[in-house]
């Protein structure tokens, strides 16, 4: 019997597939992960605004591009986790 780590993992995953739990587990983990990601994105965006207020510089707007990108990615992933997983 082949007992490589990948086939053991497959057996383990198949158990959950047969009991139809893996889809639910995957979706739950996906949603929790994206929610955590979004919370961090929003908090870091607020902190960036505070820091930007305290230390205003010419090129700070570039940092906001990064912060908005992070929020956008978080939103897309959250919707993906809910509707497409």
């Amino acid at each position: 019997m082949n007992s490589s780590p990948i086939s053991l993992l497959t057996v383990f995953v198949n158990f959950f597939l047969e009991t139809n739990l893996i889809v639910l587990a995957f979706k739950t983990v996906g949603i929790i992960t994206t929610v955590l990601f979004n919370i961090w994105s929003v908090v870091s965006f607020q902190e960036l605004r505070k820091l930007n207020y305290n230390y205003r510089d010419e090129q700070n707007s570039l940092l906001f591009v990064g912060a908005y990108l992070q929020l956008l990615i978080g939103g897309i992933l959250f919707l993906y986790a809910i509707f497409l997983l």
Binding site: V13, F37, S41, E47, L51, R56, I73, L77
Partner: protein
């Protein structure tokens, strides 16, 4: 005086920066950040993390996941890579040393949620030292600056900043001007 930016804005003379506790008659002489060479470790980790899904892609097919789930794992991975890189960039950008005509300010941002600001008046500065940190430090001309203050005022450190000798010279000049005004 015209602004001079060097090394990805890690050393700026007369920058257009304004900060919230700035006095009306106070000008920013210098802003300092860590030398860009100190960003190499997290930049390297980010590059490796970007490559990992490309290398590991064929092995993901062994897992009994559908295409949507595989794509989701890869997207989440890249989202966290962006988060890691962006957090490090913010920490570097706001780990700021500000030297004005009246004050020396050290802003320490450990991560986006933890920051600390220390400041002292130029008139309270007693001594300024610089320390180089070995081979890379000598090669790229960066080091630590230690600003010692009188009495119970906190001492200030600027770590891994470029042109340390020049910074010491600028602070000494400001101290000299300050003494003459007194």
């Amino acid at each position: 005086m015209a602004a001079a930016h060097h090394l990805f804005h890690s050393y700026c003379e007369n920058p257009p920066l304004r900060f919230s506790t700035q006095d009306v008659d106070e000008d920013v002489v210098l802003t300092l950040r860590a030398h860009p060479i100190t960003l190499v470790p997290w930049f390297f980790i980010t590059c490796v993390a970007i490559i990992i899904p490309i290398v590991a892609g064929p092995y993901v097919n062994y897992l009994p996941l559908n295409a949507n789930q595989q794509l989701f794992i890869i997207l989440v991975w890249y989202a966290f890579v962006i988060l890691y890189a962006f957090s490090n960039l913010l920490s570097w950008y706001f780990n700021l040393g500000i030297i004005t005509t009246r004050k020396v300010i050290d802003v320490d941002v450990i991560n986006v949620l933890n920051s600390q600001t220390t400041q002292t008046l130029i008139s309270r500065v007693e001594q300024v030292d610089n320390k180089t940190l070995g081979f890379l430090s000598s090669l790229f001309n960066y080091g630590n600056i230690y600003v010692q203050t009188a009495g119970e005022e906190p001492n200030i450190e600027f770590l891994d900043v470029p042109h340390p000798a020049r910074i010491v010279q600028i602070i000494n000049t400001l101290m000299e001007k300050n003494r003459r005004h007194e």
